[in-house]
Amino acid sequence: MTPDDVISALKTSKLRGRGGAGFPTWMKWNFTKEATGTAKYVVCNADEGDPGAYMDRSVLEGDPHSVLESMAICGRTIGAAQGYIYIRAEYPLAISRLERAIAQAGDMGLLGKDILGSGFDFEIELRLGAGAFVCGEETALLASIEGERGMPRPRPPFPSVKGLWGRPTVINNVETWANVPVIITRGAEWFANIGTEDSTGTKVFALTGRIENSGLVEVPMGTSLRDIVFNIGGGIPNGKAFKAVQTGGPSGGVITADHLDTPIDYTPLQELGSIMGSGGMIVMDETDCIVDIAKFYLEFTVEESCGKCAPCRIGGRKLYNILTGTTKGTGTQEDIEKMRTIGSAMQKASLCGLGQTAPNPILSPLRYFRPEYDAHINDKLCPAGVCKDLIRFEILTDKCIGCGVCARKCPVGCISGERREPHEIDQSQCIKCGECFEVCKFDAVLRA
């Protein structure tokens, strides 16, 4: 196959980037192939930072050669001699397997000088990440390989034209790379027949959270969320009710029960205010508080913001502070409008994907779970019973038989009462740990 044949096969296969954005892979490769310049680079983005997702780790640990082969194919196609795999330091097993795979490929003449007598040279080197989520953004990742702080750079110019050390660079996500060799060996048409018209092939998801069968699932594009959660995932454990699924991690949003039949595809998920993302799927049930989850994600993006651009640095902190107030019962209705304004400014003005998508975990639930926000703000209540400042435990005197189990369990000893007499909680000492609620066999502890 000539380089042009490879590009045309990728085009026919309609493979789109699996990192989340869904950019057609053949276009990236073609831009870099057409770019002029002596040195070009091939980069694998294995900085899987979405908390709650581990698709790439399983590919790298299970089949590292698929990525190496794919990168060599790309090198020959675009005219590059050097590839880099940027991988999280938190994945030691994946790192050691990749190191071994690179050595094996070198021994067999599949990497290195004059590969299989073709005159084509290609080397791959590992570069370790160091715990910065923003490095999953492609320009920040390239800065990190260059040994700098992982801060994003304005695009354009895109890496395909001006990437690593200013040279044309193809950068793809692990899962995207792993798809290329099968497209080449089994044919682009075969691949294009899987999935939907717009999104071909399969996608791996990390199904976690409140789910019976937690783990990785690989499904054809276009499979419905209902199928994934209730058939493959086996539904929600402990007889609890399904609440929502968060897709796309800290950059995504929630899909509610009303939209469970939505096909998993780039565009339909965007229309719902979420994104496909790299494949994280966190299932929530009725005991999860939507405001608390949003706060969790915002805390994450605030900590991980590199601080380079103001919309992300300041906007994220503002959003986090407002959410904290909401969970503590000091929120007001004006806060909702404020969050929408700040969120929309961040979406438009942030430099990179981290800031642009950081408000999503707030804006998307606001569309579907407004009553839950209102309960926190107007009634100072957390319906799921998660936000500690908004809950209160009380013992129902008509139900309490005075067994004393709760008093013995209470870590701060704030429950008192005579034996066989109704007990009482000293609210000034209560730390709202919920132990009494858990241990009471007579449903005599009320959580309100």
């Binding site: 570069r127 910065a132 990190s144 959270g209």
Partner: protein, 162 residues
């Protein structure tokens, strides 16, 4: 500025530096090697590295402080990392931290007086199917409950005593 002890680079680090000296963007890789050897990046080593690689010390700290993975303080002999990825958070990672703080009598990112344990919260370790997860000495413990913590700590305390 506190007095910094003179530290020489172990051979493994020196060999690594030789291998990487001429590669562009080598600093992060060298820092990983240093942390692997010491468990953190001691100031004395940072000084030595700056001389060795001809990189300004300011630049060195520019990098170390940007990346969460690099530590400036010595962790305990048994570093306990509690995963706070989304799946672990939902399944009670926060409660594990609170219980550990109670059991060990230290706060987050601190070291026990005997130097045995330190506790830190980390971003997803990629074992979401086993949530909630904690890692002690690179050993992963999955589906951890508060009740299991004393046993886990005792096990690692014993191993390090041997």
């Amino acid at each position: 500025m506190p007095v910094t002890e003179e530290l020489t680079l172990p051979e493994s680090v020196q060999d690594f530096i030789e291998k990487w000296r001429d590669k562009p963007g080598n600093l992060i890789m060298v820092l990983h090697k240093v942390q692997e050897a010491f468990g953190y990046v001691p100031r004395g080593v940072a000084l030595e590295l700056a001389r060795e690689l001809d990189v300004p010390l300011a630049k060195m700290y520019d990098i170390i402080t940007f990346y969460h993975f690099f530590k400036l303080e010595k962790p305990g002999r048994n570093p306990v990392s509690v995963c706070m990825g989304t799946a672990c958070y939902i399944k009670g990672g926060q409660d594990l931290i609170a219980e550990l703080e109670d059991l060990l009598g230290i706060g987050l990112n601190a070291v026990t007086e005997d130097g045995e344990f330190s506790v830190e919260a980390v971003r997803c370790v990629g074992c979401c199917g086993l949530a909630p997860v904690l890692v002690v000495n690179e050993e992963i413990h999955g589906k951890v409950t508060k009740e299991k913590l004393p046993e886990i700590l005792a096990k690692h305390r014993e191993v390090s005593a041997e």
